[in-house]
């Protein structure tokens, strides 16, 4: 993107002595450093504080136990299960569509109306607040299809919510593949399709994986879109049900629900423990995104980057 310089407006006057300017410059540098460091300190403080609060709550009976409705001592086992269950379903829907759409936009689509409209729709979809997407899911899956609250409805809602981000990840990964690779493949007689599937996608897979796993972390913690689609409960008889057509409260939803609606006496313990588990999962997703991305790039291209 070309940027044009904006000429200084009005009179440019020299202010202060050289020394004063240098002092200002140094002060500004120190302030900016302090602001940047404060972000790291704040994040570290959050993590330490959550471990301090929730560390004592983490036990096997909490992590794998079943939640209780009215008495203390409930666990979060089914909620963790549901979070992964909905996450995997969402990825199974989102990844194929997003990668296909991303490949089309980046490799095939010529500039024109169709491409512009797709891009604009994706950008609009990306800014739709998660709670609004939740209400759309409520309208479609609960009211129109009469599914009631289901894991499938939740996963489909999250698919719409995360599609634009994943498309963007795909497009950015593809655009980072140098054109010389494409030219070499076509020059050897490969068709465009062969070039994309055998040369471009393998080179982009590392970056794409990093992006997908980071987005997976966000899906794992998603709440507002799930309250009205996947519901606020787990099946009483069979909490680890594989059936997608049943209510599936996730861990993040459970944290909110326990705090705001539930009547169990140990709300703080469950909240602290759930928040810590969510935070640790985010850290895990972030680390594995990096490691996986690096490994795959190395395996498919022999490059480190």
């Amino acid at each position: 993107m070309e940027m044009t310089a904006v000429p200084p407006r009005g009179k440019v006057k020299a202010t202060g002595s050289v020394r004063a300017r240098k002092v200002t410059d140094n002060v500004a540098t120190v302030v900016l450093w302090a602001m940047a460091c404060s972000i790291i300190v704040m994040l570290a403080a959050f993590i330490v504080y959550m471990i301090y609060l929730g560390g004592s709550a983490l036990s096997l009976s909490f992590l794998f136990g079943v939640p209780k409705e009215t008495t203390a001592g409930g666990g979060i086992g089914p909620e963790i299960y549901n979070s992964f269950y909905i996450l995997l379903m969402t990825l199974a829907f989102t990844v194929p569509i997003a990668v296909a759409a991303g490949v089309y936009l980046q490799e095939y689509a010529r500039p024109g109306t169709f491409r512009n409209v797709v891009q604009f729709s994706a950008e609009s979809l990306a800014t739709v607040p998660s709670v609004v997407m939740g209400l759309f899911g409520l309208l479609v899956f609960v009211y129109l299809f009469k599914w009631k609250f289901t894991a499938l409805g939740g996963a489909l809602t999250l698919t719409l919510l995360n599609l634009p981000a994943l498309m963007r990840v795909t497009q950015e990964a593809l655009s980072s593949v140098p054109d010389t690779l494409r030219e070499a493949s076509m020059g050897l007689g490969g068709t465009k399709w062969q070039t994309i599937t055998r040369v471009v996608l393998p080179s982009a897979i590392g970056r794409m994986t990093t992006g997908v796993v980071l987005i997976a972390g966000r899906i794992f913690g998603e709440t507002a879109a799930l309250i009205f689609t996947a519901g606020l409960s787990v099946p009483f008889n069979n909490p680890y049900d594989l059936n997608p057509m049943r209510p599936a409260e996730t861990l993040a939803v459970h944290l909110w629900y326990t705090h705001s609606e539930s009547i169990v006496p140990d709300v703080d313990r469950i909240g602290n423990g759930s928040a810590l588990v969510l935070l640790l999962m985010v850290l895990l997703f972030n680390v594995s995104a990096r490691v996986l991305g690096r490994q795959l790039t190395k395996r498919f291209t022999g490059r480190y980057s």
């Binding site: 940027m3 044009t4 310089a5 904006v6 410059d25 540098t29 900016l32 602001m35 940047a36 972000i39 994040l43 959050f46 504080y49 609060l53 194929p96 997003a98 296909a100 759409a101 095939y108 689509a109 409209v117 604009f120 729709s121 994706a122 950008e123 609009s124 979809l125 800014t127 607040p129 998660s130 709670v131 609004v132 209400l135 759309f136 309208l139 479609v140 068709t191 465009k192 399709w193 980071l214 972390g217 966000r218 913690g221 998603e222 709440t223 507002a224 606020l232 993040a252 944290l255 909110w256 705090h259 705001s260 609606e261 909240g271 928040a275 969510l278 985010v282 850290l283 997703f285 972030n286």
Partner: protein, 294 residues
Amino acid sequence: MIAVQARRSHRAERIAVFGLRVAAGFVILAMLALLGYLAFEGTKTFYVDKFPLWQFLFSPDFAIDSGKPGAAVFIAGTLAVTLCAILIGGPFGIAVGVFLAEIAPLRMTQILKPAIEVMVGIPSVVYGWLGLTLLVPIIRTHTSSPSGFGLAAAGIVLAIMILPTVITLSEDAFRSLPGALKEGSLALGATRWQTITRVLLPSASSGLAVALILGIARAIGETLAIQMVIGNSAQFANGLFAPTAALTTEIVTDMPGATEGSLLEHVLFSMAFLLLLIAMVLIVLVRFALRKRS
């Protein structure tokens, strides 16, 4: 033989590309369905329940039982928390963006960028929980606020949540400036700070506008983090520490109890439709800012 194979693969390729096109078209379809369905459902307050639009937008009377669907309190709440968030998070985010683009040594970037990515990943409810257990008690003990819940708590939580968006996009804005701008300024004897404030900031203004607009979009749509700390009372905040409610928080608070087809449900859908329209206006603004830049 080879010709047959080539023709066959050509046809297979055409089918595959058609599949890709369908996937891209799905995005348009999804957006249209969302917009159409929410428009249909969100205007029922006006054409089924026959309330005038101005009453929804400007009346502060929100009492569904006595037939008063005024949403002005929630609209004002959304504007107020967003303003708080952008007043704190905006300058802070741009400053850190400048730092990353112009000052940070490689090692610092390697720490700060993953930290920012973790901040993006932390779920909304966990920010809400942190606000609830850390920020609200601090506000309760250090101000006259009896509960600690309210505008200030929500604004601060939101400011932290929009930081990653503002930082990343403003860093991009500074990085996309031509190097000659900075070199010219430095060569004329300006200090780094003078270069940043008088040359780089004005030149990057449209990119920074995009960063702020998308930060605002994030703040307006954020729900659970602020629902847990804002106090959820349907009244105008008469001070920074007074409890109030926003459009998103009101939807989450009352939707679980709303029956299908009731006035309350219609009004909540109208609020969701309003949020969607605001988001779309912001996207058009972003496009406008980007077009101006190129």
